[in-house]
């Protein structure tokens, strides 16, 4: 049993981390909150006083707001659907007996380790460029007109790039979950004559449910915040301005800090709603 002495030592050892994280959370958060109720234009007069909820109203009533929400939902939803579906298929395939499994795994996981600015620029220039990109060469080889990916199919292109980055994450987690499945259960089902699709639907999928939920929640939090991929490809043009990017533009590009901060508060609330669900699952796991 822990003694009084070790308890106070424990508190002392925890203190730096707790204090730092508390400061990291509270100081900027309260500043954002304060700014959001002010007319604050650093380059045009600075702090121009309190204006109540004006920024909150203006942020949601600006013509850029709803399109940005829509863009955010399409990107997050699109990437989730692609990574989950292909992640499940890929993890089942990788779980099968084969030659060179370790190497294939490495190939599949690799994109996750590529920094976002590199993957975005490589896709933008070397694959998707309408003149010199590899896709353009490929299209021309089949006699088709090369596609202007990042302007004509901008959302699809961003979804493709981001999915490529996150598919390894989904696959790896689902593969870990599949490997924890009792193989005797599957063998028994097979012997009882359950066809592959039934084995997938009644054994594998239910077993993966928790892992899928975790992938969805964690990816959603990261996907809501994607920035570099848009920053270096379209800079928010061609309908790719997400909520995160809109706030970034308000704050740093047009230096309307009050308005951007109100947007920031919305983003924080949104992220917290998702976080609550994630924490429930993670918290339950702590008790186990």
């Amino acid at each position: 049993m822990a003694t009084q002495h070790s308890r106070s030592a424990a508190r002392f050892m925890m203190a730096p981390a707790v204090i730092l994280l508390l400061g990291w959370m509270l100081v900027p958060l309260s500043m954002t909150l304060v700014f959001s109720f002010k007319k604050y234009l650093p380059l045009r007069g600075g702090d121009l006083g309190w204006i109540g909820f004006d920024n909150y109203v203006r942020f949601v009533s600006s013509s850029a707001f709803w399109p940005s929400v829509q863009t955010t939902l399409i990107i997050v939803g699109g990437v989730l659907v692609i990574t989950i579906i292909f992640g499940i298929l890929l993890s089942i395939l990788l779980d099968q007996p084969m030659w060179g499994q370790g190497i294939v795994r490495i190939l599949v996981i690799a994109p996750f380790f590529v920094m976002p600015t590199v993957s975005a620029l490589v896709w933008k220039n070397m694959l998707m460029d309408p003149v010199n990109g590899l896709f353009a060469h490929l299209w021309k080889a089949f006699g088709a007109q090369p596609v202007e990916w990042l302007s004509d199919a901008s959302l699809f292109s961003i979804i493709l790039i981001v999915s490529w980055q996150w598919l390894p994450f989904a696959t790896l987690i689902l593969l870990t979950a599949i490997q924890s499945l009792d193989s005797e259960q599957l063998e028994a089902a097979e012997m009882d004559g359950a066809p592959p699709l039934a084995r997938f639907g009644f054994i594998i999928l239910p077993h993966l449910a928790r892992a899928i939920t975790i992938v969805i929640l964690i990816q959603t939090i990261f996907l809501l915040a994607i920035f570099a991929e848009i920053f270096v490809t379209t800079s928010g043009a061609f309908g790719t301005r997400t909520l995160t990017y809109l706030i970034y533009q308000r704050v740093l590009e047009s230096q309307n800090v009050g308005l951007g901060s109100a947007g920031g508060v919305y983003a924080i609330i949104l992220a917290n709603i998702i976080a609550i669900f994630l924490m429930r699952i993670v918290g339950k796991n702590l008790d186990a």
Binding site: A17, L29, A110, P116, V122, M126, L134, M279, L286
Partner: protein, 276 residues
Amino acid sequence: MARAVTTRRKTINTVAAWAIGLLIFFPILWTILTSFKTEAQAINDPPLFFFFDWTLENYAIVQERSNYMRFLWNSVIIAGGSTFLGVIIGVPAAWSMAFVPSRRTKDILLWMLSTKMLPAVGVLYPIYLLFIKLGLLDTRFGLTIVLMLINLPIIIWMLYTYFKEIPGEILEAARMDGATLKEEILYILTPMAIPGIASTVLLNIILAWNEAFWTLNLTAAKAAPLTAFIASYSSPEGLFYAKLSAASTMAIAPILILGWFSQKQLVRGLTFGAVK
């Protein structure tokens, strides 16, 4: 008969998995290949795969023209420094929560996790302003601190799940033999905890190396790490594919290698122990 079927299935699996694996890996492979071409060969139609005049000149040009080494060094300092600081602060915290748990331990852990969920863009201006006021904008020190703070929750969580796996009986036995707290940590916990700490370090170097929100927004010329350096290629002049490829290859190579060692830890670290 059954054996033959298994071999056939195994062959099909192998072919399918390799095809998909190579397809997913292709953009990286293509980047590496292109980095060894001349600029003219890089945009050649039809594309050149292996039969071209391999050259190292792009690597030399990238280093010469943009002083690549300085960005690399910034990345090393920032990723290494933030991880080091994070582990120094995280180990005692995770240790105390794992071995001297109290009623509030779970709440504290979940609260720490919640700070990780805070969208960076929501606090962009306050941090930006504080950085200006404190003279930290475009400094390696400032960025190191910020990256340490955003990764600290993951560090503590990972360490916590590893420490939890160390059996408590061993500690009790040591205490009964009269080991002091210091001896307990130094001679018993540390050796058992080293694999967990190593994995934590590995994953966090990867995360910090690739971080591309704060590194893009809080640096300019001086402290810019590789993420920001590569971003400068988004508005290039003239032919640049081969040079972009060379710069990219150099930027991702160290992390690809580290990453392959840390596959398992990746799952644990990024799901906060919820999937092992």
